[in-house]
Symmetry: C2
Subunit: 744 residues, 2 copies
């Protein structure tokens, strides 16, 4: 609607201002009045209070507040009331979802020795919160199926695909057995999924002290790491298929939506699975016989790890209450003064596994701080130009349920209006990390240059650069020298950005601090205010910095005259991903050649110890050469059109362009990277650049059609997946050209 005069705008977009800290020069892409915006941001920064964040945190994490819990409902009211008090238009949006909670949990080592797993976490004198019992969910994996199974035990390391390949070399088949796997290397839900695919009848997951316990550092309450009774809870829903309510894939879990039968829900596990502590795992592992594990499989318990199967025999019994509960998202809205139909969405979940002081409250209190600051500005007559929506999601822990159902419900409106989705979750201290849409990479870098690290007093960008220059690998260090912007990470899954980014194609990002805050409390009984304030972020120093970072990000996106989307950075990352795919194919080709040649020469037969059971690996299918040309051509096209568009945008001479039309083209560009056909076998996931891995769970797969076809050795499909992805990229290039054409 608003049109700016040529001359004014050309001037404005060339403007930079001196930063608040007096040293650096601030670049604010897309602003006519940079000084005004910086003044708003300075005022926002000033209004943030660690004391206030701490008080909210203490209140919100005072009791267990998992989805459906009484204190969770109280928190919803508390959060809603805060927003209302600041002048927000608040809605509590409820959904009716399936959420199993345990009725019976039993794990018994029945032979050759006996042991009944305690399955409880110690009450600690040093942490009063740990004494809460009645309101607390015991350790379990949400969306494990019921089961009562008995079988020989097999140790499967991390329970990821390569571990089963190794077991095959030992001649070990897990069919009819119960597997025990370490947490780590994959998202937890992958472990029972793979175990079931290999024929196991039950699965146990534990945190080995090598990865998460005394071997990493002092354990709680002496230090932050996982003590011998701590158990990581968590969902094992098959989220790489679809997240959200298991009974309503793709649709909101509201009245009128048809629901699957529980037995037909494809994201519930096929076998029962239970997480346990390393104290409970030790007697089980000690009772295993068979071969000693390969060296990289060993953990830090004071035993010799054996693979089994048996002689350890275990009984695993799990009975769940398959309850339907109501979950509640708090949606708080600050109307945009100029562009009310352009939404900048900012979210963090509010449900925890127990007290959740770190996960999710540390991110949520930052969000509340930002929201209050923005409301204050609005009350002073400086409302955002665009509408800002703050969301506190429910039921993220069991499977991103609150956010997913909300996105599914508001699909059409979001498609039209959502500018970006900005996510946080549990936060620590140390170095900033950002994962997200590369169309905003340059913009995020500008924000990182504006925010000062509280410990070192340099910008977040400068501290991150320093860290990478010290600890980065050669490639990262080279990139630091050669690339203007810090490369942001692509997003897989693991928090509420997934439905926005990967289902709808809304440019999204996830922010947090870490690297100096050990995370042994994750999903245990010990994620408490006591633990958080001693070890995660004493003084809420980085919680405030997170609020400043997200506050500035939100406010810039809400106020920019021209939205700061740019496309050459994306093209550069796409080029990197393509290079990775070519290298991956070459690596697989060489591996197959080498492996098969070794088999041909009987090299394994000669090299392996005949007194051991470890055999040669299988022959590998020959890897053909793939036709990457369509992707190369499409990418060249994207590069050209991105360069042209960025140049036009950066020139600042936008003529008589309709800014509403231009901005809409810019923020909807991410939609052009999706396809309604979704990904092979999982059409809920529509983004063709970023996806969580089907067999990694949270780890991202970029250009997923092609990458997963190569990784799964589906070589016949690769050329087709290249072509499909190339078509999306080619259409994206045209989208950019059409957008460029708007500018004279």
């Amino acid at each position: 609607m608003q049109k700016l005069k040529n001359a004014v705008f050309a001037l404005a977009l060339a403007t930079v201002a001196t930063a608040a800290n007096g040293a650096a020069v601030e670049h604010l892409t897309g602003f006519v009045d940079v000084d005004r915006q910086l003044a708003l941001e300075a005022s926002l920064t000033k209004s943030l209070s660690a004391t206030e964040l701490a008080a909210w945190s203490k209140h919100l994490s005072a009791h267990a507040h998992h989805a459906g819990s009484p204190y969770g409902k109280e928190n919803v009211q508390f959060i809603a009331e805060l927003f209302r008090s600041w002048g927000y238009n608040v809605e509590i949006e409820a959904f009716d979802i399936l959420l199993p909670v345990p009725k019976e949990r039993e794990l018994i080592l029945e032979g050759p020795s006996g042991y009944r797993a305690t399955l409880i976490e110690d009450i600690l004198e040093e942490d009063a919160s740990s004494a809460e019992r009645a309101e607390v969910l015991p350790p379990y994996n949400a969306f494990s199926k019921d089961g009562d199974v008995r079988g020989e035990l097999v140790f499967v390391n991390y329970g990821i695909p390569e571990d089963y390949e190794m077991l095959e070399r030992y001649g070990i088949d897990v069919t009819g057995k119960i597997v025990i796997a370490k947490y780590g290397k994959s998202w937890r839900g992958i472990k029972p999924k793979l175990a079931a695919e290999h024929g196991a009848i039950g699965a146990i997951i534990y945190s080995d002290p090598a990865d998460d316990g005394y071997a990493r550092g002092d354990v709680y309450p002496t230090g932050p790491f996982k003590n011998s009774s701590g158990v990581q809870r968590g969902s094992v829903m098959d989220m790489p298929l679809y997240p959200g309510d298991v009974l309503t894939p793709g649709e909101p879990a509201i009245k009128g939506t048809r629901r699957l039968e529980i037995a037909a829900a494809p994201t519930i596990t096929k076998i029962p699975v239970l997480p346990i502590s390393y104290r409970d795992a030790e007697p089980l592992l000690r009772a295993l016989g068979g071969e000693v594990v390969p060296l990289p499989w060993r953990g830090a318990l004071p035993i010799t790890y054996h693979i089994g199967p048996g002689p350890a025999r275990v009984k695993l019994k799990l009975v769940f209450d398959w309850q339907r509960i109501t979950i509640e998202n708090v949606i708080a809205r600050l109307e945009g003064a100029t562009y009310p139909d352009e939404w900048v969405i900012r979210g963090n979940h509010h449900d925890g596994w127990n007290h959740g002081a770190s996960d999710p409250i540390s991110g949520l209190v930052a969000l509340l701080g930002e929201a209050k600051a923005l409301a204050t500005l609005a009350a002073e007559g400086k409302p955002p130009a665009r509408t800002v929506i703050y969301a506190a999601w429910d039921a993220e822990e069991p499977g991103l349920i609150g956010s997913t159902e909300w996105v599914e419900k508001h699909r059409l409106e979001l498609n039209s209006k959502a500018v970006t989705y900005l996510n946080t979750d549990g936060n620590g201290r140390g170095f900033v990390s950002i994962g997200g849409s590369h169309t905003l990479e340059g913009f995020f870098n500008e924000v990182l240059a504006s925010v000062i690290d509280p410990q070192t007093k340099v910008s977040l960008a400068a501290r991150r650069r320093a860290m990478l220059s010290v600890t980065g690998d050669e490639k990262q260090r080279e990139e630091l020298e050669s690339r203007k912007d810090l490369r942001i990470a692509p997003l897989g899954s693991g928090s509420d950005y997934t439905p926005f980014l990967q289902h709808l194609g809304i440019a999204s990002a996830n922010f947090g601090f870490g690297g100096e805050s050990a995370h042994g409390s994750y999903h245990t009984l010990y994620d408490t205010f006591e633990h958080y304030t001693r070890f995660r972020d004493p003084g809420f120093v980085y919680a405030v910095t997170l609020a400043e970072l997200l506050g500035r990000t939100t406010l810039r996106l809400a106020n920019a005259q021209v939205l700061p989307f740019r496309f050459t950075g994306l093209a550069d990352s796409l080029k990197l991903y393509l290079t990775e795919l070519e290298a991956l194919a070459e690596k697989k080709r060489e591996e197959a050649k080498r492996n098969n040649k070794l088999l041909e020469n009987n090299a394994y037969g000669l090299a392996l110890d005949a007194k051991k059971t470890l055999g040669a690996p299988k022959a590998l299918p020959k890897v053909p050469f793939f036709n990457f040309a369509p992707l190369q051509n499409a990418l060249a096209h994207v590069e050209d059109s991105a360069t042209a568009l960025d140049k036009a945008l950066d020139a600042g001479d936008l003529g008589n362009v309709d800014l509403v039309v231009l901005n809409r083209r810019l923020y909807q560009s991410e939609r052009a990277l999706t396809s309604t056909a979704g990904l092979p076998g999982r059409n809920w996931y529509r983004h063709q650049i970023y996806a969580p891995g089907f067999y990694t769970g949270y780890g991202v797969k970029t250009l997923p059609r092609v990458r997963e076809a190569i990784e799964a050795k589906l070589y016949d499909e690769v050329d087709h997946q290249i072509a499909v992805t190339a078509k999306v990229l080619a259409a994206f290039a045209v989208y950019l050209e059409e957008t460029r054409a708007l500018i004279p």
Copy 2:
């Protein structure tokens, strides 16, 4: 003396024969009558008996037989008697040396908690030998000085130079403290040496279960690995300075030799040091406070490892009986029929730390088997052409004393007559490994092609190639394809070859099997016949193969008309070492540049956690460019002359050359790689190509003058050390040219 006619010899050297196993074709360099030699070797192979080796092993390892012990003396008589019974001319050569044994050993954790280390190894029902107490030496480090010290404890990881650099970054000074270090990463004697150099007043060494215990596999008696009471004994004499009797450096410890005062002996440690078990180490480590160790420092005890210093305070008291004992080498001689003054020497030590079934008896019984077989051939009228000397050394364990004193005593005669020295020591099962003089690399490869692996029935060379093709790194795999011969390893130190090779320049090699036989019994009470026959080499299968390998090697060297020394293989390895040095200099240069740039940019200041004590590393001295040209030129010269000489030798047309003169030139060629000036600061070590590392102990340093100058950052000295080494190589090239000139 003997001269061969041109025509005959030309024919002979081109001769090859079909191998015993019917398949491969045998190349025997230097033989006129290949078939005769192969027949001799076949007969040798046939006469070897696992039963006999087992019987000798059982007898020799029935009781503890360390240097100076009663059973050691009995073993000497037993060995000598065997040799005599086979017709050898046997001499028992005695030396009078210093060997401290413990009178008092006390290690007490005095605070904050209390613990008195048991310092004893468990008696095991499953191993009758472990019940022997009276004759057994308790765990100690030979040539630790006496001491009675008290101090705060500091954990120094492996106690190697980079660990002290890390401690410095933590601001930790070990001055006045007692250090506790893990066994591994360096030879044990380096640990007290470095600790003392850094100001520590005492040192404790233990085997962490991560390196040598339950984390590697089942512990004894269930499996072969070190149990919680096992302690690795061993010498801590400063052998990189000089080995042998500490009081008589460079001279034989016989009557008339002037001896140093004990207090003046430079190879005795400067501080008391004691080895302990991981059971005794655990309470000490558990009592440490201070920072948690860096991740790579952690072991496998079920604790969080801390660095200290303190609050753990320990008392370490060691009192030794500084006794003078008589040690006895058994020297058995089989006179050469044709060239009695050319000696092929074959040795293995006979003293163990306790029962020593693996170390050294497993190698010694192979030697006895070979000796018997050679004697049998001689008795059948087929004596060796050259004199073969079998040596069973005493007091290898405390510091290569028997062999070193013998070499020092017979220096002149050895210089003139020694053709080669062939060493074995403890043996296991699996893959052959050879380290030694590269002038014999081609020859060793021929032998490896002749001996059949007992498990896979292919040649030792083929099995080793298969293993490297499966587990080797890229460089090794590439070499397998591109290089005719398996590259043999250069020798550092650790067994009796050191005085021969590195003091006198006698071409030497060390042989053994391993890779399929865990070695947790090493230097513990459990190196027993029981352990050996269950885990190291059941059935003495590889002991027999070792006897065949060494028997053939010895017999070929004893009988070859022209000794199989060749020089292009050496030139190739020298080229590799030079490349490594250039790469090392470049790496150091880049490291210094990068490190100093990071310091300049305050990158560490920004990247490190201000709440931790870890600081930035120190600035590094700038690394200048070195003048490698003298080495490059000398090496080019060596290559040319080696190529010419090898070509002349391989042509087989030796004209009227005097074989005694030629062979003497060939076997004395290694002498030309030494310099009487020795190495900087340690003139006992004369070899200019191979040396044990001054700060690694057993790990080899090739081209040691240059390599150690770069590693020690003595950059001002590098050009000089290059020039000195180049001079030796240039003279060696001339030596090869002169040798070439003998052949028409």
